[in-house]
Symmetry: C2
Subunit: 195 residues, 2 copies
């Protein structure tokens, strides 16, 4: 029971790579078809519009992300900080393995003009936010984190700090060390909030 065919996945990955390398402006049906080695109408055999390609691509990553995070092997003895480290580590590893994804996921504004696309991007952001906020709340209730800052604000700071790190990595042409820099940010924040 697969949600997408092999060809569809091939198209979505080619689209992601195009966007990552040359920006959304350069993603046209023509360039996309050339990347895969097909004609333009062939793409319309697999998706009914360009919009649907982008929507599917976001949906595909959203599902992958939720499954991956939800199946992280947590032990009941793990502290909330340990869990948070695991979540972000998994996320950063995914970005390093497939840097092109970042260009799509972190670009709220590129889909500004297409409501269903910007909604999908917002959904992905919200999901990550919910994971982090739940962690903070449990950590504060269990008194593993201090209560200097409210859970909402703290979530904003953590996600903001991580996003900023990813953005810098992207702007450096993936030459900075994302895993190391991301860890530094998370450990820094944890150092300030762990009891």
């Amino acid at each position: 029971m697969q949600q997408f065919t092999d060809r569809q996945i091939e198209i979505m990955e080619a689209a992601t790579n195009r966007i990552s390398k040359f920006g959304i402006q350069n993603l046209t049906i023509k360039t996309l078809a050339e990347d895969i080695g097909l004609s333009e109408p062939a793409l319309y055999r697999h998706f009914k519009s360009k919009n649907e390609i982008l929507w599917s691509l976001l949906e595909y990553f959203k599902t992958e992300m939720r499954n991956r995070i939800q199946s992280l092997p947590f032990k009941t003895s793990d502290s909330e900080a340990t869990k948070l480290r695991a979540i972000f580590n998994s996320q950063l590893q995914t970005f390093v393995n497939k840097p092109a994804i970042v260009s799509v996921i972190f670009a709220e504004s590129i889909f500004h003009y297409e409501e269903n696309l910007s909604n999908k991007v917002a959904e992905i952001m919200d999901m990550m936010q919910d994971f982090v906020k739940a962690n903070i709340k449990r950590g504060q209730e269990l008194e593993q984190y201090n209560n200097l800052i409210g859970a909402s604000t703290l979530t904003t700071i953590i996600i903001g700090g991580m996003r900023m790190t990813v953005l810098k990595w992207k702007l450096s042409g993936h030459k900075s060390n994302l895993i190391k820099d991301g860890k530094a940010v998370l450990e820094g924040i944890l150092k300030m909030i762990e009891k």
Copy 2:
């Protein structure tokens, strides 16, 4: 000695508003000309290309931002935290007064395909980063801030947290309280680093 003519500023502001409301995809010479009530070729009397309109717009804001921050009325008795509050307060106020700017400044990816434009956006980000990093370093040297985290990482966290707050405000359709939320983030971080 003005860098831009009135008409040029009118065009740049109209462009900013277009991008903010409908995204970069909807900014065409035609829509822009209609917004101002001129014909398309008239725009080419004031800028030699669409690219130059966007570049000028970024340059215009960059200059405004540097002048504004550099002329903040600091007293020698002000603590570094006080200065940092003033910098961000000034920045957030600017965004509230002209929300359209945010769409342009915070959108690294929309100009991905035009090197001179993405460079300008990077310049603006670097400038803000330098202001914050300098503040953190002085604060740590003067022992007003603790040394739990290095200045670079801390700068990433602060800028990241603020950017995230602005992004949320934008995604809420400017309905959240940017000033209040921004203050909460900054005060939260200061609470953790102030000695």
